[in-house]
Amino acid sequence: MAATTASSRNGHSSNPVGTARPRRTRSGAGSRPKPEEASLAGRVLKGIAGRVVSRVPAADLDERDPDYIRESLPRLWLLCSVWFRGEVRGLGNIPEEGAVLMVGNHSGGNITPDTGVFTLAFTAYFGVERRFHQLAHNLVLSMPQLGFLRKYGTVAASPQNAETALQAGAAVLVYPGGDHEVHRPSWNRHRIDFDGRKGWVRLALEHDVPIVPVVGIGGQETALFLSRGDHLARWLRLDRLLRLKVLPISLSLPWVLNVGDFLGHIPLPAKITVEALPAIDLREEFGPDPDVDEVYDHIVRLMQETLDALAAERRLPVLG
């Protein structure tokens, strides 16, 4: 935590919008922020970043609370069954016990129904007694209203936390695409987009755990996602301050035009279907010393084929 704070501070230059200035010559000198305004904006952003980073809880796997999960499953079931008409297939493909890395595609903006539908199905199927952890973005865990996620076993996405969970013999759910994939435009909804992030392959190899690809469809139909806003995020330096590489823009309820999606939104009742594919033992499939790029390409291709098949089953957006 301290290291993250320090790096955020170091990464913050004395002139936070300075890099953006030379590109804005067309708008004229009058529209440029004055140095004192820029430093004020910088201080505000830095302050917010500091507050957020300080709120990210240290990963403590013991925060997972099976009693809480059990008592809250009926309301999660109600939401997933009635609102999202959730359907999860292939749970039998997940090894019955032991550590496993489940790798999913992520959809739905900051409200990700596929995670809820899958978590419910996994927990009901294997029981609340089975250790199950999900990796989430720092910002998600620092939101006060989402504190309950830690009781579900959600920990901040970092290699250390994933390692700790796998060493404890837990099933770990990771979404490599993260904020990049979750805010992709709705017209790219049937595309697996991990942005070339391969840390999960190395993680599975280091701990010699099987990978179960988990493919979901429907999440990107819960709003009309227009743009990731990655240029905007870079211009505002959110990537350095909050690890946010995107500032998404969407049309969603109740905001209509939703920039940032920081407060979430009311998702449309799109049908969510999730399919778990057969477990892949990397060394059995790719030899004793698998090539990370080959594994990545293979699994992403498998997931894309599954997503294409799920998309072909779907007749209408939202209705499913």
Binding site: E71, S72, L73, P74, W77, L78, C80, A121, A124, G127
Partner: protein, 169 residues
């Protein structure tokens, strides 16, 4: 939440009992059941444990159950050990018509401490659970009556064979 269904089967209680006490047959006649596995050494009888799951809405719900009541050809009841709280009962009773059995299947389920939303979830799930129980009983009736007919036909065949052998001798 308590859901129950019943059906009259044209067979003696023993024939029904034979089917409902065999864990290997549950996946064949129980609707919505996706898993019914023996856990432990006892496949049947008092204290036998099963891991069962029933598809309801967007999840497969159930857990580990244990047989807690066992009166042959009359009652078999179970209760949950892990998973959602549940209590189930097979109740077999003879009717005034010979070789006819009234079969009742009861299931109470819920999650203690789940509050108002849990109460609502139980009610939303009830029609699906009720439908599964009714379909299960109809499938059980069809299966038991079919086996009963085959058994009676086999008895008639062997009786005819016996009579023919007696005439020949």
């Amino acid at each position: 939440m308590r859901v129950a269904a019943s059906v009259d089967v044209s067979a003696p209680p023993g024939a029904v009992w034979e089917v409902i006490t065999d864990p290997a047959r549950y996946l064949h006649f129980m609707a919505g059941i996706t898993r019914w596995e023996v856990v432990g050494d006892e496949p049947t009888g008092l204290g036998a444990r099963y891991r069962m799951l029933m598809r309801v809405g967007s999840a497969e719900i159930g857990g580990l159950i244990e047989i807690v009541e066992w009166t042959p050809e009359r009652d078999m009841a179970w209760t949950s050990v892990t998973g959602i709280d549940q209590r189930g009962r097979w109740r077999l009773r003879g009717t005034s018509t010979p070789n006819r059995t009234r079969v009742e299947l009861r299931l109470s389920y819920g999650v203690a401490g789940s509050g108002l939303m849990g109460w609502a979830a139980e009610r939303v799930a009830a029609p699906t659970v009720g439908r599964h129980l009714r379909r299960s009983l109809h499938q059980l009736k069809r299966q038991v009556e079919h086996e009963q007919l085959r058994r009676q036909a086999a008895e008639r065949r062997s009786a005819r064979g016996g009579a023919a052998r007696a005439r020949a001798s």
